[in-house]
């Protein structure tokens, strides 16, 4: 699905990422690496294959488009690693396989106390929004006044309904020239409360991205009430 954001042609990929050809950049948000580990630490049995799958998904994404740069709109990790944990090394190994790639991270609320790790992973962390070609890339946006740009944090999802069937899908949300990306991480929840009067959704439905605009879901809702 191709869209235009303040004069920037972008492609919304079903891999829950944005391809920005002019900047030769792939943009993702809310990867939440290591979340499985946080759960295990608390005695909740989540398998570690989650991390491997997440990194493999990034591999797959980087094969799709010839990116020089990966921009992460915050929440690269779920929580800072504690001593003795093995998963940061898995990220380092993944990083070594993509040595040529530049990675920039707008620090999100989960990316606390990460400075030493970031230099280990050769990721450039930004406290402030990154500005490229008139687009402001941030972790979280002011939802009442979204500026031209992209953000994450919210993990938008859309509901598809048909009769009694309901299906929840990750979604891109757009208001004017601002785009909120779906969470890239699979092991994340979602938010479905965006005001549809201001935000239109593009749902990730398997292999395609679908413009839900306001017609399908909006009408369905209207009929119900």
């Amino acid at each position: 699905m191709k869209i235009d954001l303040a004069g920037n042609p972008l492609e919304l990929l079903p891999q829950r990422a944005v391809w920005w050809p002019a900047a030769r950049s792939l943009v993702v948000a809310d990867v939440h690496l290591g979340k499985d580990q946080v759960f295990r630490r608390a005695g909740i049995a989540i398998p570690s294959s989650v991390l491997e799958a997440e990194l493999a998904a990034l591999d797959g994404l980087l094969q799709k488009r010839p990116a020089d740069r990966l921009i992460v709109l915050g929440d690269w990790v779920h929580a800072p690693p504690t001593d003795g944990e093995a998963w940061p090394a898995a990220i380092s190994a993944w990083r070594a396989r993509h040595a040529q790639l530049a990675i920039e991270l707008v620090l999100g609320n989960h990316d606390r106390d990460l400075a030493p790790r970031l230099s280990e992973w050769r990721i450039e962390g930004h406290q402030d929004p990154i500005k490229i070609n008139g687009l402001e890339l941030n972790h979280e946006v002011v939802y009442e006044h979204p500026v031209a740009g992209m953000s994450g944090h919210l993990h938008p999802v859309a509901w598809l309904r048909s009769g009694r069937e309901r299906l929840r899908l990750p979604a891109f949300a757009r208001s004017g020239d601002h785009l909120i990306l779906p969470a890239f991480g699979r092991f994340t929840g979602g938010f479905d409360g965006l005001d549809r009067a201001y935000w239109s959704l593009y749902a990730v439905a398997g292999e395609r991205v679908v413009d839900l605009a306001d017609r399908a879901v909006g009408r369905e809702r209207g009929r119900r009430s």
Partner: protein, 802 residues
């Protein structure tokens, strides 16, 4: 005897069964006492302990009394205290429930009372303290109240495990269950005490005779054939309420309760004396309704199963049941909620909501006359509960694996647990999963010096917060923007609303302001025009006993031997009509009807197996047809049968129906025919919470667990992808079959159909049996497509709307 002295002092005669129970207790026996509510069951069980305490004194925590309801605990504690106080031993009974303050709990630990009234979950929490073995080592007896309520649930499984633990700590422990009448008392006793234990089953006085009074229409031809609200009977019902001192009005669902509450309030002259009571309403509001009944302030309380149990209301002199009670046990239970009448009868007024319910009531009356009651099936091999219990015991002093395996297998719920399953659960709590799967740094339970323990304090704290098996069903709190909480509503309903939408809840018309932090903020709506939430799972299926009773009754009509009860007489014209336009079903005969309408071609099948089983059966048949020829169906079910509706006619003869309803390869076909994965995913919600895979959100606790929030659906997906052999996933699939679809009932229905005559008729109009299904219009979803195909189809459908 001290207890007899107390009875004499109160002027009560000692009943035979009470004397037998006291003697059995004195002989060191365990067992089950069954008798109706209010017949002296409590003192039958407790008398032995009173005697023992008067003779031997107390030396620590000697007696536990377990009750399923916190609300009952305080009343029970007083009832247990009275005979002791009379015998010169006051203040021996204390209370510990989830409501007890932590200060008070600490006091109870420091200086344990001789007798403690508590809930199964509170007992589990007590067993999770490191010194539990020492504190619980002085127990002489455990009493389990309302065992019939617990035995068919996971709470019952948890309790069985806790009892096994107490028995291991006190080999001479006496265990006594108290139960209402059940169809399978031997099984109830075996479930409570463990298989192979010789139990005394003591029958109380016979159930109070139930006087069933049906509010029948003058003419059944003017009575609606379908519907389940029944407000067309409102006038008659309000007249009855007028005439009585105080009425308890039961409905089968919360939506029905909301509708009836509003209807009664809007026509009666005493709207402030009506209250509403159901499981979603805030506890304070519920308690105020209960108190209103106790002190006579209220004239009518509209309630659901939420008031099936609980404190007695001597002031209630009338019980009204809207809609069929769906089972004889429930009918007796609800009738028994009215205070004692001089004639010793428990009277219940039943309000049928549509014509066929008149027939249900006729069958219920026959069942009552014959003294038949439904059985309750215990739950077996619930590994989620076992995992939780093992962590609890690891906290409470730890356990040695081999010994514990024997202890667990001593319960009815886990008698068939095999070594592989046991090893899996041990792996699950120690490693996260089987050794081959990667669960690095997972440490919940750790073996230290040969004993399984929980060394991590944070994990211990999280576990204690999550103990228990009753789980809120993804509910959001409903609260006024400034102030009072009204209760909870399922997330599913609320997330469909947008701000400004109106709905009825807790008897008020409300307008949604916004949803935030698991709370739906609302304000009063000016207009009363609003939707009523449909709570999921509100409707219980017709019991097998009652369904079979209906078929037997129809057989009697066929042979002209129908009873002359008012309900049977009233239902007769409807059955005659059914026979005229189609055919009558029966124990020996399955009726299948075909019809056409503007919507398409309808097939109606009437196996009388209850709505849950019909959902499975309908999906099965639809899939089997689709396997032979291309066809798409939409499905509707009710308690008597199901409908398959297709746009194009599908011709089927008797022989083909026989094949479609064959019991052969049932399980494989049914799993294939349903969106079984989707159902298992939602079933996993409870399992994940119980097994500790999902942390329950607590108000005020959110900070501590914020980073651990993940929905059960998410965990289900992650495990399905990365640990597909996880036995908890298998359990979710099994529960879908057994609990959600009533697999056993489907099996029985098909076995019966295999022996039945199959009659295919083609009535010109919808028959009396078909009409309610057609009118119900609740199209069940059926989908055997893979996920991508489903998404694509839904998108096409949505796009075609645009």
């Amino acid at each position: 005897m001290a207890i007899e002295g107390y009875f004499a002092h109160r002027g009560w005669p000692v009943l035979n069964f009470q004397r037998r129970a006291w003697a059995a207790y004195a002989g060191g026996r365990s067992g089950l006492i069954h008798a109706p509510t209010g017949s002296g069951k409590t003192l039958a069980a407790w008398g032995g302990a009173v005697e023992e305490m008067v003779e031997d004194g107390a030396n620590g925590l000697n007696y536990l009394w377990l009750t399923p309801l916190r609300a009952l605990a305080a009343d029970t504690a007083r009832a247990l205290d009275r005979p002791l106080a009379y015998s010169g031993k006051p203040d021996q009974v204390a209370l510990r429930t989830g409501d007890t303050s932590s200060y008070r709990r600490k006091k109870l630990l420091e200086k344990p009372p001789p007798a403690l009234v508590t809930t199964p979950e509170s007992l589990a929490v007590m067993l999770s303290y490191a010194d539990a073995p020492a504190r619980m080592s002085k127990l002489r007896a455990v009493f389990v109240d309302e065992w019939h309520e617990l035995m068919g649930s996971k709470r019952g499984v948890l309790l069985q495990l806790c009892l096994a633990r107490l028995k291991a700590l006190n080999p001479a422990l006496k265990t006594w269950g108290l139960s209402a009448t059940l169809g399978n008392l031997d099984e109830a006793a075996a479930t409570l005490l463990g298989p192979g234990i010789d139990a005394d089953i003591i029958a109380g006085e016979r159930d109070r005779p139930v006087a069933l009074v049906s509010l029948l229409p003058e003419s059944i031809s003017r009575f609606p054939w379908a519907g389940r609200v029944g407000v067309h009977q409102l006038k008659k019902v309000v007249e009855r309420i007028e005439a009585a001192e105080s009425t308890l009005l039961f409905t089968n669902t919360r939506s029905q309760a909301e509708i009836w509450f509003n209807a009664i309030q809007s026509v009666c002259a005493w709207p402030e004396r009506v209250a509403l009571h159901h499981g979603s309403i805030d506890r304070a509001l519920r308690e105020s309704a209960e108190q209103g009944l106790v002190d006579g302030r209220l004239k009518c309380v509209v309630a659901t199963a939420s008031l099936d149990l609980g404190v007695d209301f001597p002031t209630v002199d009338q019980v009204v049941q809207v809609g069929s009670p769906k089972g004889i046990a429930r009918l007796i239970q609800r009738a028994g909620r009215s205070g004692h009448r001089p004639d010793g009868q428990a009277r219940i007024h039943c309000v049928p909501t549509h014509a066929l319910e008149v027939l249900e009531l006729a069958a219920a009356r026959e069942g009552l006359t014959q003294g038949r009651v439904e059985a309750r099936s215990p739950i077996r091999l619930a590994l989620d509960v076992l995992a939780q219990h093992l962590v609890t015991i690891a906290l409470g002093g730890g356990f040695e694996t081999e010994t514990m395996y024997r202890e667990v297998r001593g319960t009815d719920a886990f008698a068939d647990l095999d070594g592989r399953q046991w090893q899996w659960v041990i792996d699950f709590i120690t490693r996260g999963g089987p050794a081959l799967k990667a669960y690095p740094d997972f440490q919940r339970v750790v073996e230290i010096d040969g004993r399984m323990r929980v060394p991590n304090r944070r994990i211990a704290m999280l576990h204690r917060l999550n103990i228990g098996t009753i789980t809120a069903d993804g509910a959001l709190q409903v609260r006024f923007s400034k102030g009072a909480s009204l209760g909870t509503i399922e997330e599913r309903f609320l997330t469909r609303l947008k701000p400004g939408d109106r709905f009825v809840f807790a008897g008020r018309a409300l307008e949604l302001v916004r949803i935030r932090d698991m709370t739906a903020y609302v304000r009063s709506a000016r207009s009363r025009k609003a939707t009523v939430p449909a709570w999921v799972g509100g409707r219980l299926p017709l019991s097998t006993l009652l369904a079979d009773g209906m078929l037997a009754l129809i057989d009697d009509f066929e042979t002209g031997q129908a009873p002359d009860s008012p309900e049977a007489v009233a239902a007769a014209p409807l059955l005659s009509l059914q026979r005229r336009v189609s055919a009558l079903p029966g124990r020996e005969r399955l009726v299948v009807e075909h019809g056409r309408s503007r919507e398409g071609a309808h097939w109606f099948v009437f196996p009388f197996a209850g709505r849950l089983a019909h959902e499975g059966l309908a999906a099965l048949v639809a899939a089997r047809i689709a396997a032979r020829r291309p066809a798409t169906f939409s499905i509707t079910v009710n308690d008597y049968g199901f409908e398959l509706l297709s746009a194009e006619p599908v011709e089927l003869d008797e022989q083909e129906w026989r094949e479609l309803l064959s019991p052969r390869s049932l399980q494989e076909d049914i799993l294939e025919s349903l969106n079984a994965a989707g159902m298992a995913r939602s079933r996993f919600r409870d399992i994940a919470r119980i097994a500790g895979l999902v942390q329950q959100g607590y108000p005020g606790r959110r900070k501590a667990t914020r980073q651990l929030q993940a929905s059960s659906g998410l965990v289900f997906d992650v495990l399905s992808d990365y640990d597909p052999d996880n036995l908890l996933l298998a359990q979710a699939r099994r529960e879908v079959l057994e609990a959600q679809l009533e697999y056993r009932r489907i099996e029985r229905a098909l076995d019966r159909i295999a022996r039945q005559q199959v009659v295919v008729t083609r009535p010109e109009r919808f028959s009396p049996l078909a009409f309610p299904i057609w009118a119900d219009r609740l199209r069940a979803q059926l989908s055997s497509e893979d996920w991508q195909a489903r998404v694509n189809r839904m998108l096409t459908q949505l796009e075609s709307v645009a």
